[in-house]
């Protein structure tokens, strides 16, 4: 039998029983769609986390006031009084840590920035000159905050790319005086456009010296201290030193939390590992179910078409031809299911991205390929047994069945 004839014959046989065919296609499609959507979720979660953390700098150790913010509920917290605040002096003391390369204290608040009649609400970050290295930011224009005594607070500001565009448009921003809250500052630098990072958009940030920000917000506490360890191996040491130094300064009470990127990433890694395992498991199960369904439906098809097989043999069909016809049918149904499943899965992933725009739910290519190949392979593999059975039928026995 010629290949085009074989394909047409198998196609007609498949479309001849629409219910059986659509069930089969659906089963395979669900398997493939499950793989596409689930891996899109898993990989999306992984990508989301990696993006978030790689955008805040590496070898980062973050000090925040209060105990155990990420360490789960601690009954001691409920009793102890409000924790001691973090101060600029605390930050300065941390510079003694041998495992610590540099650090930047951070104060955060909202204020208004105005220039030439334009007014805009902004997030103001008060920090020091090394913030730009610690956070791995880069400048588009000018310079970053000057290296000065942390208590001085010169009236200068570095603004995010989006703020620059909105306030100045095509006009030069460097050297301009702006009003931030009730202070007048000179713009000394503009950050390069970067996008999201740790829930804070750098493009909409206004950065001023830490003392200036504290004066603006009338406070002398810090929101965070961002610490950069000497290298990746030094992260645990940097954490330990930070805890030790601050404990000493805070009358022997460890009332701060020091988190490392590694710790957070490890937690997510474990979570994502479990998620990926689950995805793999579900995908494997759905594929196996689809394959077994293909086999059973094809076996039923062989049984229903016994008389036809006998007839084909009486008309001169070889066992090989019959095998090929059934195999072609199983392959075709699996292929159709794989394509339908692929489209459904991609649509599902697109829907997730539409509903949660910040979540990069793209299925990884390897998973899509693996899903498609598995669907085809299982269809063909599970199609072999029914095809062999059909081919082995004795023509006269088969014919007498009606």
């Amino acid at each position: 039998m010629r290949v085009p004839d074989l394909i047409r014959f198998a196609r007609d046989a498949a479309t001849g029983s629409p219910l059986r065919t659509s069930l089969l296609v659906l089963a395979v499609a669900i398997g493939v769609a499950a793989v596409v959507v689930l891996t899109a979720l898993g990989d999306g979660a992984r990508r989301y986390v990696v993006n978030e953390f790689s955008s805040i700098g590496s070898n980062l150790v973050i000090v925040l006031p209060g105990r155990s913010e990420t360490g789960g509920f601690n009954p001691a917290n409920a009793i102890t009084s409000t924790p001691r605040d973090l101060t600029v002096e605390d930050a300065r003391a941390l510079l003694r840590g041998t495992a610590i390369r540099r650090l930047a204290p951070l104060v955060i608040g909202t204020s208004e920035i105005s220039v030439g009649g334009k007014l805009r609400e902004v997030i103001v970050a008060g920090t020091t000159s090394q913030f730009i290295e610690v956070r791995r930011l880069s400048l588009a224009q000018g310079r970053f905050l000057s290296e000065e005594d942390w208590g001085r607070g010169s009236a200068e500001a570095v603004i995010g790319a989006k703020i620059r565009d909105e306030l100045f448009g095509s006009e030069p921003a460097l050297g301009k005086l702006v009003r931030i809250g009730d202070r007048r500052c000179r713009i000394v630098g503009v950050l390069a456009a970067s996008g999201q990072g740790l829930g804070m958009n750098n493009d909409e940030l206004v950065i001023v010296p830490v003392a200036l920000a504290q004066a603006m917000f009338n406070s002398n506490t810090l929101f965070r201290i961002l610490v950069e360890a000497r290298n990746r191996e030094a992260i645990p040491a940097a954490k330990a030193q930070a805890e030790e130094i601050l404990k000493l300064r805070h009358d022997g009470e460890l009332d701060v939390t020091v988190i490392t990127q590694d710790g957070v990433l490890a937690t997510f890694d474990r979570l994502l590992g479990v998620l990926t395992l689950g995805v793999a498991g579900i995908a494997a199960i759905s594929m196996a179910v689809a394959g077994i369904l293909v086999m059973n439906v094809m076996l039923v098809s062989v049984a229903q078409r016994t008389a036809e097989i006998g007839l084909l043999k009486a008309l001169g069909a070889t066992g090989r031809t019959i095998r090929m016809a059934f195999l072609a049918e199983a392959t075709m149904l699996s292929l159709a299911g794989a394509v339908v499943g692929y489209v459904l899965g991609q649509a599902g992933a697109a829907l997730i991205r539409h509903l949660y725009p910040t979540f990069p739910a793209y299925p990884p290519t390897w998973a899509v390929l693996a899903g498609l190949v598995t669907a085809l392979a299982s269809g063909i593999l599970f199609g072999v047994a029914p095809a062999r059975r059909a081919a082995a039928l004795d023509p006269v026995q088969a014919l007498s069945k009606r």
């Binding site: 004839d5 084909l312 009486a314 001169g316 070889t318 031809t321 014919l399 009606r402």
Partner: protein, 232 residues
């Protein structure tokens, strides 16, 4: 008598049903020359269909030798037997056995498709066959849109499309009324007129009487062979 086209010697066919055995064919010796027109007759259950299935290589004997055109076909592999069925034998069934989802033209073309004949040649030969059997305006109809007589004509067209040397027809008129049945017999006789060996199983003594040679089966054995009459 020219060299036999079909030569059966010592053919036995036994069906085992649990403990009991049914001797469907007992020690059968038959020889049929090319171009003969043979009617196989006898009561129900006498082994006529079993004989025809053996001749058509749809079944294998338990013992004995079947020579087709000088070749022992009982020892051939299944694939080789399929080739013989495809090229040398045409089968016509009582219940037509058309593929319901295929049109008349597609049913007729089926053996050629299975044999891998190119589509262009298939189309030409199907067009010829449709004309020969008066089915031109039924080409695109499916079996359920055809009358019994038309269905059997499609089946005969299908059986002859590969230009076989032997046509085997198992009660081809069994599901047809008398007039339609006679028309079908006429078609088979026309084929025989063109040199094809025709072997028909029938209950009907009138139709059987048309044939030049009658084989009378009874209880799996050949009871009477009209060709031996004169010799005896």
């Amino acid at each position: 008598m020219s060299a036999a086209q079909i030569e059966l010697s010592g053919i036995e066919r036994v069906f085992r049903l649990g403990d009991s055995e049914v001797h469907a064919l007992r020690h059968l010796d038959v020889s049929i020359a090319p171009g003969e027109y043979v009617a196989v007759m006898g009561p129900s259950g006498s082994g006529k269909s079993t004989l025809l299935n053996l001749l058509g290589l749809l079944d294998r004997p338990n013992a004995g030798v079947y020579r087709l055109e000088g070749r022992d076909v009982t020892t051939l592999s299944p694939e080789e037997q399929a080739r013989v069925r495809s090229e040398r034998i045409g089968f016509v069934f009582q219940s037509f056995h058309l593929v319901p989802r295929l049109t008349a033209a597609e049913n007729i073309a089926l053996p050629m498709m299975l044999a891998g004949i190119p589509p262009r040649e298939r189309a030409d030969r199907v067009a010829c066959a449709l004309k020969d059997y008066g089915l031109e305006n039924r080409a695109g109809h499916r079996p359920d849109q055809l009358s019994g007589g038309q269905r059997q004509r499609v089946a005969i067209a299908r059986a002859t499309i590969m230009r076989p040397a032997v046509i085997l027809a198992d009660e081809p008129t069994g599901n047809l009324d008398r007039a339609t049945g006679e028309e079908v017999i006429r078609l088979l006789e026309q084929l025989n007129g063109s040199g094809v060996t025709v072997i028909i199983v029938t209950h009907d003594p009138v139709l059987g009487g048309h044939a030049r040679r009658q084989l009378l089966m009874e209880d799996g054995a050949l009871q009477h062979d009209s060709a031996r009459e004169g010799a005896a």
